[in-house]
């Protein structure tokens, strides 16, 4: 599995309230949620984002509320992968459970700039910044989690 896209860059401690503000949580509809993704931190995000784009955050990405609406909004907005130095734990498991690819890589999180074109190989964990030519090695997922990802998320995995 591969991802290829332009980078939207965010700081440390991006919380789920800015990813999808609670005023929009009166619907579980993924498309409606995606229309307000990142609204309180980057109002132009939904206008700029192209299918396949990559989101890069700092430490503790996705902290705060357990709302699965957050990774769902990011995924439905067209983002192919989120790279961060670290993820908040509920966001981490939610992303895996709904099949939004994520990678923890402090070096990539630090070096990659907004607008860079980035390629991700999920099988090897290699992240390539095609704009600068730098490459980074992300930690691979443990086999248990790889099984969930391969099945296309938790519900498919437990049905198998």
């Amino acid at each position: 599995m591969q991802a290829n896209g332009f980078v939207h860059k965010y700081p440390d401690n991006v919380d789920t309230d800015v990813i999808i503000p609670a005023r929009y949580l009166n619907t579980p509809d993924a498309k409606e949620l995606a229309a307000h993704c990142m609204e309180d931190i980057d109002p132009d995000f939904v206008k700029k984002v192209q299918p396949g784009d990559i989101m890069v955050g700092g430490a503790n990405f996705g902290c705060g509320s357990s709302r699965e609406h957050a990774p769902l909004a990011i995924k439905t907005a067209g983002v192919s992968c989120v790279i961060a130095a670290t993820f908040a734990r509920i966001f981490y498991r939610n992303a895996i459970n709904i099949g939004l690819p994520i990678l923890e890589c402090p070096a990539a999180s630090e070096a990659i700039r907004a607008g860079d074109k980035v390629h991700v190989d999920f099988d090897t964990g290699v992240i390539t910044d095609e704009t600068t030519g730098q490459t980074f090695q992300a930690q691979p997922f443990p086999p248990f989690i790889q099984e969930i990802i391969k099945a296309g998320g938790l519900m498919n995995s437990i049905k198998q």
Binding site: N13, D15, D17, V18, P21, A22, R23, L25, N26, T27, P28, D40, I41, A59, N60, C63, G64, S65, S66, R67, E68, H69, P71, L72, T86, A88, R89, I90, R93, N94, N97, I98, P142, F144, I145, I148, G153, L154, M155, N156, I158, K159
Partner: protein, 421 residues
């Protein structure tokens, strides 16, 4: 190497003699929880995967608390979806308007969660139940759906930070001041993926309401869970309340902790978290020039009876400052009724406050106290992120009920020790 209290509970629920930090396990669940925001997403996943039965209708809890009584048509649709699902599967612990409370105040109060349990909830503050000696953690809606269907959940066994508590809180300093102090000290990711294990001679002096508040905000330090040992306070709380027999787990003498932090409870002072992170803590006394527009006293963090009492002690016989709006929200119907019976509700109203039925409403910027551009609120809730309670250019300051009530009286952030009884 021995196991921490959290690891022992997880090992038993995974059917293993021993687990260690970092190990991935599948554990049996004692309770599964969701609310009116997260349950609809879980129901959709449950249905999409083709499930037609739940693992145990007596172990699933659906509490309508975020946007009820419903704030708009869409919120009403979500509540209806939860109600229909609860009826279809005959869910025992379904709490609708009139019986509901804020989930993390309600479940302990009803004795649904108990010592030794392994619990997941599709709400980040599910970590609250560590106060009664349970392993309890927040998850997402898909985890809730899988939990409802199978009674199981996957976990990475957490490493631990041990907090050794000494001394005794000096009222009006409360559990809220302690947890804000801890988050200020270790940061919002200071306990990322880890369990926060509270221990030491100071534990005995903490009331159950304090412990519930402390564990509630473990997530604000990034923790997987917070947990207290089961002691006389716990047993007294659970006796006559717990709906199931409980099991007491204790950490092994040689349990491994990544870090040990000692805290002298006697030295703590009223603490406030400045915007826009719960780690931005300072003494309340530093806020005397910070003018406030609104005060919120309530939530899953601080809407319990002791919190109401702390606010009442400050507000009774006085009046809030001109231009300040004070919103008091008892967290469950039982607490709401008790405030009426004790005359506190009348005193709150006479002091110029509004008293609402239970709701999470303002905490997450849902309704019942949304802030306008440039407005400031001091709140006993748990998060002060950008836009959390309304406009992106509004501000939330996190504090204890006593500090929030004292600030309502003066119109500025105020150390409650400076207010004469």
């Amino acid at each position: 190497m021995g196991m921490t209290m959290t690891q022992k509970i997880l090992a038993v629920h995974a059917g293993l003699d021993k687990v260690e930090a970092g190990q991935l396990i599948s554990a049996r669940l004692d309770e599964v929880l969701g609310n009116d925001i997260t349950t609809p997403v879980a129901i959709n996943e449950f249905n999409k995967a083709g499930f037609t039965s739940v693992f145990d209708k007596t172990r699933i809890n659906i509490v309508l608390d975020h946007f009820v009584p419903n704030k708009d048509i869409k919120a009403a649709q979500q509540s209806k979806q939860c109600r229909d699902f609860a009826n279809k599967y005959d869910i025992l612990n379904f709490y609708d308007v009139g019986q509901m409370g804020i989930e993390h105040a309600l479940l302990p109060e009803k004795g649904i969660v108990t010592a030794g349990d392994c619990i997941i909830g599709a709400d980040s503050h599910t970590c609250t139940y560590g106060a009664v000696g349970a392993f309890s953690t927040g998850v997402g809606s898909t985890d809730m759906a899988a939990g409802m269907a199978t009674g199981k959940c996957w976990f990475k066994v957490p490493a631990a930070i041990r907090f050794v508590l000494k001394g005794q809180l000096q009222p009006p300093v409360s559990g809220k001041d302690l947890i804000l102090h801890i988050i200020g000290r270790i940061g919002v990711d200071g306990a990322l993926y880890k369990s926060m294990e509270f221990t030491g001679p100071g534990v005995a002096s903490l009331t159950m309401d304090d412990r519930l508040c402390i564990c509630n905000m473990a997530i604000e330090a990034g923790a997987k869970n917070g947990i207290f040992p089961v002691d006389e306070v716990t047993i007294q709380y659970l006796t006559g309340r717990s709906q199931r027999p409980w099991t007491v787990y204790e950490a092994d003498e040689d349990a491994e902790y990544e870090q040990t932090i000692e805290i002298d409870l006697s030295a703590l002072e009223p603490t406030v978290a400045w915007p826009h992170l719960p780690e931005n803590t300072k003494p309340a006394a530093d806020g005397k020039d910070v003018k406030i527009d609104q005060v919120v006293i309530g939530s899953c963090t601080n809407g319990r009876l002791e919190d109401m009492e702390a606010a009442w002690k400050v507000l009774k016989g006085k009046h809030i400052a001109p231009g300040v709006r004070a919103i008091i929200i008892p967290a469950t119907m039982a607490i709401y009724k008790e405030c009426i019976l004790r005359g506190w509700t009348t005193d709150f109203i006479d002091a110029g406050c509004v008293v609402s039925t239970p709701t999470c409403g303002p905490c997450l910027g849902g309704y019942m106290g949304i802030l306008a551009q440039g407005e400031r609120c001091i709140s006993t809730t748990n998060r002060n992120f950008v836009g959390r309670m309304g406009h992106v250019e509004s501000e939330v300051y996190l504090a204890s009920p006593a500090t929030a009530a004292a600030s309502a009286l003066t119109g500025y952030i105020t150390d409650p020790r400076t207010i004469a009884e």
